[in-house]
């Protein structure tokens, strides 16, 4: 074929028409010359030529590409049909837009969290090193999101590994950018000198950190900033390399800027500043992690040597593990801990798609949400298929006529599919828009940094979804509509008393499956909503409203130990009298903040027990009053408890139950089990308090030991103050800030509303409840609409029959019952199947629900009841319409 001809086919057509005209002209004049009358001459010429229109059509067809032209026609026809039914178009389009949009959005998130490779050269060569999972890993101090290794271990691994072209280590850390007062954090990274070079990142401005920058005792060698931070903080200043940046009160020269595409190796997190690991002692001074053998704060990744596989690397690093660990045993470890430590094995895992702690938290929920959104789309498709079927049956006569005068069935099917295709295309286009909004909302809801650009995988997914939906809702109705024998259709249209049961059967199947699937989604939604409700309303053991956390840091003041203890006492006293403050206490561990501290103890004079490892907190006397946790027995800490007095502890009910067999804890003593050379501590229990949540709301109550802050011999540079106030917390903050700075003007402060901490700790549950609730609601509406549609359709088809029944004496109640029975059968079938499916599907929710079984019977019953009521109400409308039927009108109509 010839594209030029195709594009100019109309021009050619005109050309040929002129030519044929010329032929007729010549032939006519010759005929006249032969002696015919002009009229005869024209007729004879025409007869000789044949039908000019057919000739032109012949030529036109030669110029065209058959399928393009006919597809174009079909699409135009489809568009015209859709324009004729704006209501149908709106409903169908909206349900597809929502369905496809939701699917795409969730897939986009999944893609960003799980599937996408890092934007660096040859990401497939990257592998992360880890200590293979074992029951005794690891103990010590942990900092950063991936505290996989200590610095001494890193040095050993760097020097002994042979499978990687190069390896690097990094750890994350927030840096305070503010001089004093309220803190302003930058997301920071400690990186070793090989970091950027191994990843193959090239600088956008200036240079990046190299091996020469990361030398022991390097002082303040400089920092590399991310593109986003460069824009935000420096307004994209090209002279940024001549500037310095203040991190934790130290000046770092800016070395360079990374390209916009690079956001570190951790998915879901961006970094603002990267600093060589050798600068860590500068900032943490005497608390530096670098020399410590039990401070875990680094993660390690490497680029495999060419030809090395991850398995080979694992074998190699496993073989060198004894050398690494035997030479880095922490001195404080007890003998059995040393034994476990020396037996750790290194392993390598692929890291081409980056590393992320998000995956553990969100991978399963996202897959589950994708399944849920997929089901919603299926239900929407079933609804559309139903609508298309209804439309097809109203067009039966038209189709029969077209079949009778010789239209090909294939062409008719294609024509009907064109309409579905248009709908699906509209759904895809709208869906992409909706998905962009939705996925961005989700990312900001989850407070993540995710690169959500649309890649081929998302486009392929959306396109596939669109095609699939089109096939799902369009194909069967198209086949069904053209399956009729034309003669039958012409004869029977509008004549039959009741419609053909076999043809109606498919629509019933659709409705039953809609009802059952939406029951599954509704049950799921109720499950997650109830789970969230359990978390929100559970007994935390404290009163979370009206609490403000103020984290005060004085590491810039260089106070010695005595000065610090005195400072914290002063601080507490000053804050207590600040306006609006009802109570104030400090705690080493703020509940439900995710932090924790545990220690092995031994109960003195008690029966020998296995490993006793309760959780700890260090508090000031007013803690329980501030948190509103009641004391059950004994006493609170008070001014009797000093550095000089014997050490005392308060335990909770769970401690008594678990470790003391429910006996009275008062007066009992326990000691901390410590390693060689560490100070001994023996505590006497003086009080018993109600259970309260410790690390997370989801955990059950754990045994907790509270010790007195006033008996701490070595207070640190920071403190968490918990302030209770009946005043609005927003107005409290400036007052508190003034009070805190009045005690020490260079303190840095970070405020957090306790309630917000709680809400953030159940983000995942809120996400599941909101999204599954929304989807469940959508599914129920769709299924109800489907049932309504089918019942309305049935009533319309049986008008005649119902008219006769009424004429023969059936009363309104009879007719109502007739229609509702029809609806009831479909509903009950759907609910029964749906209940089975819900119980089966509930297992996938598994660990994601709190405080109830996934197959919780109450939840399913609730969902069944809800759906039944709504669906019956919806079918009541057509039933009432049928019962009010005027028999004369109904019978006369045909």
């Amino acid at each position: 074929m010839n594209w030029r001809r195709f594009l100019r086919r109309d021009w050619w057509d005109a050309e040929r028409a002129r030519e044929i005209e010329a032929y007729l002209d010549i032939e006519t004049s010759e005929n006249i010359a032969r002696g015919m009358t002009p009229a005869d001459a024209v007729t004879a010429a025409r007869r000789k030529l044949g039908n000019p229109a057919l000739i032109r059509e012949d030529i036109y067809r030669m110029n065209t590409v058959q399928w393009i032209d006919s597809t174009y026609q079909d699409l135009r026809h489809g568009l015209r049909l859709l324009r004729l039914n704006p209501g149908f178009f709106a409903v169908a389009g909206l349900s597809l837009v929502l369905g496809i949009g939701a699917n795409t959005a969730i897939f986009q998130l999944l893609d960003a969290v799980r599937l996408r490779m890092l934007p660096v050269a040859h990401p497939e060569q990257l592998a992360e090193l880890k200590i293979a999972k074992n029951d005794h890993c690891c103990s010590g101090m942990f900092a950063a999101r991936r505290p996989n290794f200590t610095y001494p271990q890193w040095q050993q691994i760097r020097d002994h590994q042979q499978s990687f072209a190069s390896v690097f280590a990094w750890g994350d850390r927030r840096f305070n950018l503010a001089g004093n007062g309220e803190v302003q954090y930058a997301e920071g990274l400690w990186v070793t000198g090989e970091f950027f070079q191994t990843l193959g990142v090239t600088p956008l401005v200036g240079r990046l950190i190299g091996s020469d920058d990361d030398r022991p005792g390097c002082g303040s060698p400089g920092a590399v900033i991310s593109h986003a931070f460069w824009q935000k903080r420096f307004g994209g200043d090209p002279q940024v390399t001549e500037k310095k940046i203040l991190l934790e009160g130290r000046h770092f020269p800016v070395l360079g800027v990374t390209p916009a595409s690079f956001s570190g190796v951790e998915v879901g997190r961006n970094f603002d500043v990267a600093v060589p690991a050798c600068a860590e002692p500068l900032i943490d001074s005497e608390d530096s992690y670098i020399p410590q053998r039990d401070h875990w704060w680094l993660a390690i990744m490497g680029r495999l040597k060419p030809g090395f596989s991850v398995d080979q690397a694992t074998a190699q690093v496993a073989a060198m593990s004894p050398a690494v660990f035997e030479s880095t045993v922490p001195p404080k470890y007890r003998p059995e801990e040393v034994k476990y430590y020396a037996a750790y094995k290194l392993s390598a895992v692929p890291a081409g798609s980056g590393v992320s702690s998000l995956r553990g938290d969100y991978e399963k929920p996202l897959y589950l949400l994708l399944a849920i959104a997929g089901l919603v789309l299926v239900i929407a498709c079933a609804n559309l298929a139903n609508l298309m079927l209804a439309r097809a049956s109203t067009r039966q006569r038209e189709i029969a006529v077209r079949l009778a005068i010789g239209a090909g069935r294939g062409r008719l099917i294609r024509q009907m599919l064109a309409e579905s295709l248009l709908l699906a295309a509209a759904g895809v286009v709208g869906g992409v828009v909706v998905s962009q909004v939705l996925s961005r909302y989700l990312v900001s809801f989850l407070n993540l940094y995710l690169d959500l650009h649309t890649d081929w995988r998302i486009l392929a997914f959306t396109a596939a979804t669109g095609v699939l939906t089109c096939i799902l809702f369009g194909l069967y109705p198209a086949f069904y509509a053209t399956r009729i024998a034309p003669a039958d259709a012409m004869k029977t249209t509008g004549r039959g008393l009741t419609s053909n049961r076999e043809k109606f059967g498919f629509r019933r199947v659709l409705v039953v499956s809609q009802v059952s699937l939406s029951l599954v989604l509704l049950a799921g939604a109720l499950l997650f909503v109830r789970s969230l409700r359990n978390l929100v309303t559970l007994d935390t053991g404290f009163r979370e409203n009206g609490l403000l956390i103020a984290n005060v840091d004085i590491s810039r003041s260089n106070y010695n130990v005595e000065r610090r203890a005195a400072y914290f006492r002063d601080l507490l006293g000053t804050v207590r009298h600040a306006p609006g403050v009802d109570d104030v206490a400090t705690a080493a561990i703020v509940p439900v903040s995710g932090s924790g501290w545990n220690h092995t103890i031994e109960i003195l004079d008690g029966p020998k027990q296995g490993n006793i490892v309760p959780w700890f907190n260090r508090i000031t006397p007013s803690y329980f009053k501030t948190m509103d946790t009641p004391l059950l027995a004994g006493r609170m800490f008070d001014n009797r408890d000093t550095l000089a007095s014997p050490e005392v502890a308060i335990v909770n009910e769970e401690f008594r139950k678990k470790y003391l067999g429910g006996a009275n804890p008062l007066g009992k003593e326990f000691r901390l089990v410590v390693g060689p050379g560490e100070p001994q501590h023996v505590y006497q229990i003086v009080g018993l308090v109600r259970n309260s949540k410790y690390q997370s709301l989801r955990d059950n109550f754990v045994p907790i030991v509270f010790v007195a802050a006033d008996q701490e011999k070595d207070p640190g540079f920071g403190v968490n103050m918990i302030v209770r106030s009946s005043a609005p917390l927003g107005s409290l903050m400036p007052e508190l800030k003034r009070a805190i700075l009045s005690v020490n003007p260079v303190a840095s402060i970070e405020f957090k509303v306790f309630k917000t901490t709680l809400r953030e700790s159940i983000l995942r549950e809120r996400l599941m409840a909101i999204l599954s609730g929304f989807f469940g609601f959508l599914a129920a509406i769709l299924a109800t609409a489907g049932l309504y549609g089918v019942i309305s359709y049935m009533v319309a088809r049986r008008r005649n029959e119902i008219g006769i029944r009424v004429a023969l004496g059936a009363n309104r109640a009879n007719i109502l019952r007739l229609v509702l029975r029809e609806a009831g059968v479909l509903l009950v079938a759907g609910l029964v199947i749906g209940t089975g499916l819900s119980i089966a599907a509930a297992q996938t929710a598994g660990s994601l629900v709190y405080g109830l079984q996934p197959s919780d019977p109450v939840t399913i019953e609730l969902a069944v009841a809800l759906l039944a009521v709504v669906a019956l109400a919806a079918s009541l409308i057509p039933a009432l319409r049928a019962s009010r039927l005027n028999p004369m009108a109904a019978l006369r109509e045909e």
């Binding site: 050619w12 030519e19 010329a22 010549i26 012949d58």
Partner: protein
């Protein structure tokens, strides 16, 4: 050339198609002509045995032009009317030679088959 191709039930015009192309090319070998003339010349030269359906001539002309075997231009006919003239191109001339030799081969082959069967034994 008789096209007895893959189709099981060829229609008469289809049988004629390949031959018609050749006839048109041959007619144009004499000199440029418009559609009307071509039709009449073919009828005339075959002593009215081959009645070209004038209607099917134009799609054939279109096809040949599409293949580049003939070219067309608007001219004035002998009785002073506008008409589209066709002329043979160089490729068309080569094509005609090829078609003619093939046609002769076919005719000879068909004649071989049709000659009276010789008695054996």
């Amino acid at each position: 050339m008789v096209d007895m191709g893959k189709r099981t039930a060829p229609t008469p015009t289809e049988i004629l198609q390949g031959t018609l192309d050749m006839l048109i090319l041959q007619t144009l070998a004499i000199g440029p002509a418009h559609g009307h003339t071509i039709a009449h010349v073919i009828g005339h030269r075959s002593e009215e045995v081959l009645q070209v359906e004038h209607g099917s001539l134009y799609p054939a002309l279109h096809r040949l032009e599409d293949r580049g075997w003939i070219a067309s231009f608007w001219g004035t006919s002998e009785n002073n009317r506008k008409a589209r003239y066709y002329r043979l191109t160089a490729t068309g001339r080569r094509q005609l030679t090829a078609e003619l030799s093939r046609w002769k081969r076919v005719v000879r082959a068909v004649n071989q088959v049709l000659r009276p069967v010789e008695e054996r034994e």
